[in-house]
Amino acid sequence: MNETNTSSRKTTGATHRTDDWQTYPTKILVVLTLFAIYGTYRAFENNWYEVGNLLSPFYSPKLEFSWWKFSPALLILPIPGLFRATCYYYRKAYYRAFFGTPKACAVTGTANPRYTGESSGIWTLQNIHRYAFYMATLVLGVLWWDAFQTLFAAGHFFNFSYFQISVGTIVFFVNVVLLSGYSFGCHACRHLAGGCLDSFSSSGASKTSLSIWERITKLNEKHEMWAWISLFSVMGADVYTTVVARHGIPADPVLFSMDMITNLVAK
């Protein structure tokens, strides 16, 4: 029998894990950093965010005031930003990737004998997650409205003669569906819908709460997936709007419109 010295486990990053634990925090670090750079650039760019019936989700709702001289995105982005920053899933992701508390399970993290987590200082702001959820839900309502706008040619909203389905329609609807899956599967929403109750059988209302809570729980089980795909979809919708606005080509190709039907019937 040979003897080997016990390695020190007190230094940050020390572990005896033999699996690939570095990949997850590294991926998070790269993706969130790239998204933050892209989002910041787009928020300050203050251009190429609106064309025809497409309005980038980064700039929606478009808040334009005479007293505000900067990009309107700076007024609206803090809301979804706060919602995601205080989201229970993203907290796991960025605490691991950026703060090393811990980087991965059973990997020595940033040891601090005075650690207080989210119970003091700026971190207590994590407790406003549900208020961020309320505000983000209002913004989401506007994004649904924007998506419906794409169903009609620019300037003809709700005029069914101008009904159309364009690539933008698909991009915007996919985005709002994914954002809804993320928002309504959030832990704060789950709590408010029924998680706050101790009894689900005590009244008709609590039985209804149970039914809603169970549905939200199903969504919540995949909250991580919703968080990522909705992040990519919102970026995708912005990229699409920018490309159409900047280059005009592809000028949001129409896949289906009432004109097409009319022409078909005439033939």
Binding site: M1, N2, E3, T4, N5, T6, R9, T15, H16, R17, T18, D19, Y88, R91, K92, Y95, R96, T101, P102, C105, A106, V107, T108, G109, T110, A111, N112, P113, Y115, T116, G117, E118, S119, S120, W123, T124, N127, I128, H129, R130, Y131, H187, A188, H191, L192, G195, C196, L197, D198, S199, F200, S201, S202, L210, N220, E221
Partner: protein, 245 residues
């Protein structure tokens, strides 16, 4: 027959080292079997805590290749077939007694600080399944303390003075969500239990051998209840007006 190369930590509170052993691997063998082989055939003084060998008693918690695991639930074949060395060491968050045995008595002291189940005096003991289902998940806990071991607040920062740890967040959740319980543990949880110390990194959930969704179903709902009580005046108003405990 496959032979596993094992490194087992031997020592006590004064220090120790990994010792290497070669153990024959049989089909279905788990790490705890290997420890028994070492005790039986090589070194009878190897200290291992175990009891049921069926992943139900929570005694044989250790770290296998750095991962907090139950030794009775960790198969040898996977490691041995890949020619991997198997490193077995005691859980890191608690003081060593000897070899793989640690002193987890702190946990029992924490448990005593939690207000026990407090039913209404005139409680109707007929309980509907939908009311008790959430709590039943928490009752699966076998107190292996792997969640306590992996929690960085306890493991890295050693804040045992301020945070009760995931195991006891689960216990508090099982009481707070019980339809017949009348106790209010939120003040305790916020001020002395250190619920705010948890930063939701979900390691406790990852290592739980009973697959309890500790973070999503116990800790986060408790944090949300604390928000109701201390950070959300609107929810607090509605709760006090409309919700009867």
């Amino acid at each position: 027959m496959l032979e596993a190369r094992m490194k087992v930590w031997r020592g006590d509170k004064n220090g120790g080292a990994f010792k290497e052993y070669k153990v024959p691997v049989e089909t279905g063998m788990v790490v705890l079997d290997a420890m028994h082989y070492i005790q039986r055939e090589i070194e009878p003084d190897l200290a291992v805590r175990w009891n049921c060998k069926a992943a139900k008693c929570g005694s044989c918690s250790a770290e296998v290749n750095g991962r907090p695991s139950l030794m009775c639930k960790t198969r040898m074949e996977g490691f041995a077939q890949q020619g991997q060395e198997i490193m077995v060491e005691p859980i890191q968050a608690f003081p060593i007694i000897k070899d793989l045995v640690t002193d987890v008595s702190w946990n029992y002291e924490v448990n005593k600080r939690i207000q026990p189940f407090t039913p209404k005096p005139d409680a109707d003991w007929i309980i509907y399944q939908e009311d008790i289902e959430r709590v039943q998940e928490f009752r699966k806990c076998i107190e292996c303390f792997l969640c306590q071991d992996v929690c960085h607040v306890i493991r890295d920062s050693n804040r045992k003075d301020a945070f009760i740890g995931p195991r006891f967040m689960v216990r508090v959740a099982s009481l707070e969500m019980h339809p017949l319980d009348t106790g209010d543990r939120l003040k305790f949880l916020k001020e002395r239990g250190g619920a705010g110390y948890c930063n939701i990194t979900k390691c406790c959930t990852e290592v739980c051998p009973e697959d309890i969704h500790i973070t999503d179903n116990a800790i986060i709902p408790l944090k949300e209840r604390i928000v109701d009580e201390y950070y959300d005046p609107i929810a607090r108003f509605f709760k006090h007006v409309f919700v009867k405990k």
